[in-house]
Symmetry: C2
Amino acid sequence: MIYDSKKLNEKTEEKKITSRLEDYSQWYLDVIDSADLAEYGPVRGCMVIKPYGYSIWESIQGILDKKIKETGVKNAYFPLLIPKSFLEREAKHVEGFAKECAVVTHHRLEEKDGKLISAGELEEPLIIRPTSETVMYDIFSRWIRSYRDLPLLVNQWANVVRWEMRPRLFLRTVEFLWQEGHTVHETEKEADERARQMLNIYKDFAENVMAIPVITGVKSDSERFAGAQCTYTIEGMMQDGKALQLGTSHNLGQNFSKVFNVKFIDQNNTEQYGWQTSWGVSTRLIGGLIMTHSDDKGLVLPPKIASIQVIITTIVPSEKDKELVINKAEEINKILKTKGIKSETDIRDLRPGEKYFEWEKKGIPLRIEIGPKDIANNTVVFVRRDTGEKIKVSLDNIESEAEKILVDIQSSLFKKALDYRKEKTKVVDTWEDFVKEIEAGNFVLAHWGGNAEEEEQVKTETGATIRCIPFDQKEESGKCIKTGKPSNKRIIFAKSY
Amino acid sequence: MIYDSKKLNEKTEEKKITSRLEDYSQWYLDVIDSADLAEYGPVRGCMVIKPYGYSIWESIQGILDKKIKETGVKNAYFPLLIPKSFLEREAKHVEGFAKECAVVTHHRLEEKDGKLISAGELEEPLIIRPTSETVMYDIFSRWIRSYRDLPLLVNQWANVVRWEMRPRLFLRTVEFLWQEGHTVHETEKEADERARQMLNIYKDFAENVMAIPVITGVKSDSERFAGAQCTYTIEGMMQDGKALQLGTSHNLGQNFSKVFNVKFIDQNNTEQYGWQTSWGVSTRLIGGLIMTHSDDKGLVLPPKIASIQVIITTIVPSEKDKELVINKAEEINKILKTKGIKSETDIRDLRPGEKYFEWEKKGIPLRIEIGPKDIANNTVVFVRRDTGEKIKVSLDNIESEAEKILVDIQSSLFKKALDYRKEKTKVVDTWEDFVKEIEAGNFVLAHWGGNAEEEEQVKTETGATIRCIPFDQKEESGKCIKTGKPSNKRIIFAKSY
């Protein structure tokens, strides 16, 4: 017998994905669960990234690492543990992170009355890095002597810990993985250019690799990174209309260099403080990927980020065809691999529908179905994950067709997300419309002239925050949506993650 | 003027490498410092891996990750923080790690009387992973239901923390980077085969990529991993004759599965405990690399692990030749890169000697020197880092010569290290000779029939420990070097790191 139902993963049978309309938050969790991406570990809010989820992170790392290095940045590794006193040096920085610090106070366990207790109390408590500005810049202060040591351009791929009280898988977890780049420059201008350059790399990566359209711009005072002079951001729109901050790049000015003594002797032999930047993206990108493209059948992956781009599934109605079909599937697999396509075969003895179901949930961009009838006709069937469209393709030009369709899926996903964002971005001129459009789950482009307090009021009343002051908005005169004060640019408001 | 001495890195001028004979420990630190590999960070015993050092780790990761994946293992990521109670479950495991645990007791900082104090005390303290058996196996217990989920084969690249009281860069640091693989199997035999398979991958990697000859074998009871049934090891000999454990692979039996409930329903529908393995190598490999190949001029890197294999240095005696020489250097660089050789140019306006000195300290396997005279003769000069040998090479076959010499450097380094180990491995039959040869800094092959207590005595009296019971030793009857008890195999004793 061919279909061994015992071999079907029991968990697969049980899972049903909640629809987006029914319950968006549950849908998000169901997509993650049914694609086997991640789950919570034993410590509250800490995430286990399962092999398939981690393969997406490896794709992100592989592509982004290359792009970062192409700009002259080198990878390095800095300590996980930061003396508490370091965090205290930059006033705003500590204000931003004190509430979510994991604190190490002891360095061993000791038995006492049959129980293990914390022992070896540290003279100074240590913080597990929530971000590495403080520890890196203390070290930079020893590395840099003169302008000849600048620019200093380093990046690290690392784990960080921020004690989030309301964790959500990938979006906000107590521990997450990221890259954090840190640079030191001779001039303010050069630092600002670097901060913008890295933001553009994130934008390019989000749009051209992850197929997530993003708005680039500047954060408002209240959303700025703790300790930065200016924070640049890329913001994506999720399918519930909420914004997700997908990456940030900070012009730190001299705020940190002054407290960590990151100084250099300039070309005129004068001591100067360095101008700094930091910038990062994290496993949150995977959350953005899920919420941009996936549907009620599960995950949808853009080909450029998929660890498996094509899955070749065999259909074997009777035992006598088995060898023929499997051989053909392996042959196609080889051909596709030769073309640099990441393909795999699924030759398991399962009902075809079960196999399709599984790969759909895992978001594989293109499925190739092959059975004895197809072979007899010298064809196979292509099934696109994004549209569900079935296409009969001749075995003779399978690789060029696969390449073409993968390219089309990549651009279609981007276009679809972009169209969606355009449709759900409203230009608004009255407070009444503002409230209405925010309530309807849209991005709102409105004039703004308020201060931080008034910004907070908007949040309290509508749930929306300033996502960014977009780079691409033209100057035009108008009146602040909330205060009536004059404004010369529309900015983006939305509810956000 | 051509030689701009200002551009010379000041630190370069100052550094002098202590010779191995003079002070081996200082030599090790000097090699690390002068090659710019790593340094200590602000927290005692925590290491900063500098960009050049990290590029070596990236080489290791890139090559080894591929080899591990080829055996069917997939990468994943598990939490950094482990509940204290998890560690307690396996008695020997906690015994082995309790003394070096970093303990997280609070999850925020709070201002009190103008000072930041630890706040938000955790109900249960958390341990920063010293290794991940406990947290992974708790998770595995939920992933595995039946034999169809086995073998489970995962690996993670991560940081771990062990509170070392006597830290040494790369060899023993409070935080280090590593990969840890963890597998679960249906049978004891399969688990043992996997543990041995991974040890062989480490051996192959050490010998054929890092050019470090290693002895493979089984650890004695007292050197076994805390909680393992059997620990396999690869041991290298450093230039001071001491052994360095470069990687271990553990057959864990059912020790952990029984306490973490890693169970499966077998093919006969009976519940069974899984058979497990774990295995890892760390940034310690870089310490082994340094101490195997480097010399009194600094680091020596085998070509297969070097991030720069060839450095092309320009010699420009007068301004008029500058363009010609630089163009030629860039041309050679392109040719070598096309051949897949990792080459770079050094066209800085420095005295040639200064450039040579710098690249020598950084261990670049092959230096190509090119000046106007060379170009006129259609030649360049190759200088091997390992031997210092200078070779005139025609510009016409530069890429094939470079390839050939790199291959030769790789095998020569291995052979040199192997010869050294052979020379310094002594077969010994009396206690008197044993003491003498250990004192002389040798590996000793001797018969052994003692127990753990007697092993400890040997350590106290001579400083030597059992490095391993080697796989490749033939059976032969003899008498224990210490107790006179009968023995059927010689084993390896040495002082070690």
